[in-house]
Each structure stands twice: as structure tokens, then as C-alpha cells.
Amino acid sequence: MAQGFAIILDLFVTFFKIGALGFGGGLAMLPYIERQVSHYHHWLSEGEFLDLLAIAQSTPGPIAINSSTFVGFRTAGVAGAVVACIGVVFFAVFAINLLSSFLERNVENLRIKQLFLTLRPITVGLILAAAFTTGRKVLIDLPAVFVAIAAFFLLSRFKLHPIVVVLSFGAAGALLYMFA
């Protein structure tokens, strides 16, 4: 029992660190997660980390949360999964509430306005980078390119909700692979 508690505590501390020090979204955080989880704690073997990569990217939800759940679940069951997830968002819960209340009190501050005006184009540039890096990995054959273009038109011309587009193409793909 005491040992079980020690693992839970260890999971929390490790994922708290990952959440408080990891930057740039799930994919950028994966190398850091690997170092903590496979090299430092030996919770996952190399093969299991490959499973993590596959599962984290093929289940719905943020990749970093999926990874935390996977490691926690493998190491200490449902309690481990929950604790790892709480750990990874713990820092952000406090940081964002403090930062937001600071920003709300200083909306008229010129420095802060300038900061946001400068960070906006950078933020949009990061979205473009995400589109490009994902595209480089995914658009590797003609059908994939065709699906991407069709989806783009459904989104921009027909104003379909992203969720509708995602699920329609997913269902179409599943049907096609099952019966073709």
C-alpha cells in the first residue's frame, strides 16, 4: 500500500514537472516526456513508448493529456491515469488564473497592449507552422491531398462545422477500408 502511494506521488510530481516546464504543445513535449518516463523513471520500455506515441496520436484529445493518461494507467491503473492528468495541468490551473486576473486588472496598460499586438502575428505563425508540419507528415499520397482539399472547401465555402467534417471523413474512410 505504501509503495502504491509512493508511485502515485511520483507520478504526480513527474507530470507536474512536465506540465510546468514543457513548452510548445503536445508534440514538442514528447521528447521531454520520454526522458522523464523512459530514461529517468523506467516506467515504460522503448517498445511501450512507441505504443504511447501511436495511442496518444490516435485517440481523441490533446496529445500531452493522452500521454499522461497512458503512462499513469500503465503504471498505476485508473488512479495513476487520473493523478498524472491532474499533475500535468496543475501548474497551468494556477498560472492561468493568476495571469488572467493580472491581465484583467491591466487591460489599459500600454505595455501589455503592445505585448499582445506583437505576440498575435507570432501566434498565427505558430498555427501555420502546425499546419505545415502536420501536412508534411500526412499529405503523402494523392487521396490524402484530395481529402484535405475537399475538407478545406467544406469548411470555407460551405461553412460546415469542423466536427462534422472530421467525423464525416472518418466515417467515409472506415467504410471504404472495411468494404473495399
Binding site: 496520436q57 484529445g61 488564473n97 505558430l126 499546419a131 472530421v166 466515417a171 472495411m178
Partner: protein, 181 residues
């Protein structure tokens, strides 16, 4: 914000849960989903507010999607809204990963799974590009802003630089800005 009455906590939770449960490929893929729901369909906030929320989410360490949920939830419904939104964003992961982990060996090569992802993955690219175009409309057509935008793009997409450094650089540059009234 505030043009219509405040959405309930349940509505905030539901929106985050459904969005996270239908998003594949990480936090960035969640951006257009949330933007469409929160800004266009429900009018819970303005496009600029959304862009600033995204900016804050990227400037803080941690999980982008959880950061987004916390900021949006807070803007919409205060601290309670933040916690509820974060829970909604995390819960689909916890449930689906545990199920998939148990079933993994059986489902990983099934035609259903492979077909689903063959359909979904290219859509994620379209979504990201679509949300880039939408958010880019909010960037003033000035050389300075677009150099920052494309500089960031090249640095992150081609040179493999961590987004963290782009944010830090932006913070530094903002100290020299004098173009505000």
C-alpha cells in the same frame, strides 16, 4: 463578450468535452473547432479575444489544449468556468486512452481504425490551414507584423526551433513598439 447572457457551466463543459472528444492530432487541431463553436456559432467572445486567449495559452508552459480551456472557461465563467472547461478538455482523453490501451492489440490493425484515420488525418491539415487563414485576417497588413508571422513559421516549421523562443523574442520586441496611440 457579453452580448448574450452568460452560458451555463454545463454548456461550457459540454462544449469542451465534445470538442476534445472529436479532435484528433493534438492541441492545435482543437483551435479551429473551438473558434467555430465559441466565436462563430455561440458568440461567447470576439475573434480578437479568442486570438489573445490563444496567445496566452501558447506563452505559458503546459498542455496547449488545457491552457486554452482554462483561459476560455475563465473568460466565459470565471474560475469555476476555467476548472469545468479544463475537466471537459481532459476527460475524453482519460476515458478513450484507457479503453484503447486495453483493446490496443485488437484494434490497431483493424480496417475500421485504419480507414477512420486515413479519413481524419488529412482533414486535420485542412482544419489547421483554415484556422490560419481565419486568424490571419486579424493581423494588420504591415510589413512588421507579417515578417514576425512568417519568421515564426520558418523558424518553427523548417528550423525546428521551439515555439517558446518565438514567444520570448516577441516579448522582447514588444518593448520597442511605439505604434500605439
Amino acid at each position: 463578450m457579453g452580448k448574450i447572457e452568460k452560458p451555463s457551466l454545463a454548456a461550457v463543459f459540454q462544449l469542451m468535452f465534445v470538442s476534445a472528444a472529436t479532435t484528433f492530432g493534438g492541441g492545435y487541431a482543437l483551435v479551429p473547432v473551438l473558434e467555430t463553436s465559441i466565436v462563430e456559432k455561440k458568440h461567447w467572445m470576439e475573434e480578437e479575444e479568442f486570438l489573445d486567449a490563444l496567445t496566452i495559452a501558447q506563452s505559458i508552459p503546459g498542455v496547449l489544449a488545457a491552457n486554452m480551456a482554462l483561459i476560455l472557461g475563465r473568460r466565459i465563467q470565471g474560475v469555476k468556468g476555467a476548472l469545468v472547461a479544463c475537466l471537459g478538455a481532459v476527460l475524453p482523453s482519460v476515458i478513450s486512452v484507457m479503453i484503447i490501451t486495453v483493446l490496443y492489440e485488437r484494434v490497431k490493425d483493424a480496417p475500421l481504425t485504419r480507414g477512420f484515420f486515413a479519413g481524419v488525418k488529412p482533414v486535420v491539415v485542412a482544419l489547421l490551414f483554415f484556422s490560419f487563414l481565419k486568424l490571419a485576417r486579424r493581423i494588420p497588413r504591415r510589413l512588421y507584423d507579417w515578417s514576425l508571422l512568417f519568421g515564426t513559421f520558418v523558424a518553427v516549421a523548417f528550423l525546428g526551433i521551439n515555439p517558446f523562443w518565438a514567444i520570448i523574442l516577441g516579448g522582447g520586441l514588444s518593448l520597442w513598439r511605439k505604434d500605439l496611440p
